[in-house]
Amino acid sequence: MDILQNIALGLGVALTAINLLWCLIGVFLGTLIGVLPGLGPLAAISMLFPITYHLEPTTAMIMLAGIYYGTAYGGSTASILLNIPGTTSSAVTCLDGYPMSKQGRAGVALAMTAVASFLGGVVGIVVLSVFAPAVASWALSFGSAEYFFVMVLGLVAASTVTDGSVIKGLAMVVLGILLATVGMDPQSGVSRFTFGSLSVLDGFSIAALAMGLFGIAEIIVSVRSGEDRTLSSKDITLRSLIPTRDDLRRSWWPMLRSSSIGSVFGTLPGTGPTVAAFVSYGVEKRLADEPERFGKGAIEGVVAPESANNAADQTAFIPTLTLGVPGSATMALMIGALMVHGIHPGPNLVSEQPTLFWGLVMSFWVGNVLLVILNLPLIGLWVRLLTVPYRILYPAIIIFICVGAYSVRYSSFDVMVVFGFGFLGYVMRLFRMPAAPLLLGFVLGPLIEQHFRRAMVLARGDLTALVERPISAVLLSITILLLIWTFWSHRRQRRHVPQEQALPAGDVDD
């Protein structure tokens, strides 16, 4: 069978000594960078880009990819232990991971995220291998109308994820969309809300925004909060990593479902691990028998986003390699790395460069296995990294954030963006406004605008034509149903539990 031949070919490439070495380097660096709040895959990959010039293209891709999905493994560590996401796609993991950690179950959370990430990776790779051609052509049939509705669904799902009021979640999504309008409008060339500044023409740097909104705000809340943020390494023994049978029982289905959701979202350009994590969290919360457990340390709330984001990481390569369409900025860098070596990703890549494609795909297996091996015993190492007393740790984190933000464009303006969003993030905490939907609105806002405009052009101004398309109609119905369901279940909850739950992201009252 064709696919067996390809697998054999790929393994032959992936298991060579040099590719194994660089895969290991990649996943290790990836995890390390993921663990450290303030540095994300985008910054890391762009910084390590020049190293790849000296490597063979396949080896270069293997290493870069290792960094990419490795960060997803490490990102959850900081989310769980410090309530600061190590990477954007791990932001949702804070919601249940941190409460688990406060309940003394950090070890279990960390172990389960490694397992969940591995499972997500496995599912993602299988989808990638088996469905690459088929999925690509299906995604190709997605028109702007479908993209528009998918993204609106993603945003609505994101705002219903928060424990607080849905209105606040929706308001934050809208605020995020507004923040995304700052800069030059690609379709009309008009500079919106720039007030003459040239640095902001491309919009706010998303890394800087995220680091300010989540990282700096978290630090502000934590310093001198009276809460001892210092972990003791005694808390995390190897035995305490073992989850209970109940944990495992609860996790199976969420992991499988989320991996599937992640695989789908990873494929679609414009959506990726972050959206996948949000949506799968929302789905699991909806499907759980006791949704009130979410936000307070539900294991499902930890494994679902981690499976989803890893699956999405793997399937993100589908449009990147088979269509040449990068699903995200990071994927665009991957394409750049290929083009430096004279290889042009596209529908022909699979047939013309089978050693590259299948070697890369097989290296994902190697990488994910390495990551599980690295992460379970090395949890102690990563945790030790974070057990340094908080008063010593937080200045270092601030520096990582600042240098990280600066390094994307060598721009001190981006550091000012961190400053501004740090302030905003703190104010939002004061008013109990959830930050995560804002990030999502920011990321998807411009795309939604673009797709809506295009859809309108294609439909020649007929709004109803948008909804007549079958996929769009389905998506719209799901969105409306979700909204109705959420409001109704919130109303029901309020009757039983009258107080508004405090957001797990930290209460600012001293």
């Binding site: 209105i167 606040k168 309008t181 060598y410 961190v418 405009r453």
Partner: protein, 153 residues
């Protein structure tokens, strides 16, 4: 004062939404739904935000009437946020003018001022340590080409 927090938050959102919508509407072409101009999203989203803000503010009143508001005055920390934000600002200013190493050191020193008791010796040692670490990670390992020190003379 929980309800007052909700009320203020809601009103703030409403104000932001209104300002954005008005500014956007007057400065950028709206176009129509069919062919959207640059102003359409800012205005529509601004209006939507204002609506959500108002709903939230109104919700604060019903919480009060339902007796769910807790009359606890939250103490808002001023010093810590100012210092932390100042340390980020310090980095932004110093890196352009004096280079990476002074920026890291300066930012760390400012950041440590947020903690009580202030321990100057610890601050200096930490600044030195983090600066070395930053050099090792960002310059040696990652080969970022940030000027280490810019003497402005």
């Amino acid at each position: 004062m929980l309800d007052r927090r909700e009320l203020t938050g809601g009103l703030l959102l409403a104000a932001v939404g209104a300002i954005v919508a008005i500014y956007g509407g007057t400065h950028y072409a709206m176009g129509s739904v069919i062919s959207m101009g640059p102003g359409m999203v800012p205005v529509s989203m601004g209006v939507l935000l204002a609506v959500f803000g108002l709903i939230n503010a109104v919700g604060a009143y019903s919480a009060l009437s339902r007796g769910h508001a807790e009359p606890v005055l939250p103490k808002v920390k001023i010093a810590v946020p100012l210092v932390i934000l100042a340390s980020v600002l310090a980095f932004a200013i110093l890196i352009g003018s004096l280079g990476l190493l002074p920026a890291v050191a300066g930012s760390v020193i400012v950041a440590t001022l947020a903690e009580r008791p202030i321990r100057p010796l610890l601050s200096l040692k930490l600044a030195a340590g983090v600066t070395v670490m930053a050099w090792l990670i960002f310059v040696v390992a990652m080969r970022l080409t940030i000027p280490l020190v810019n003497w402005p003379f």
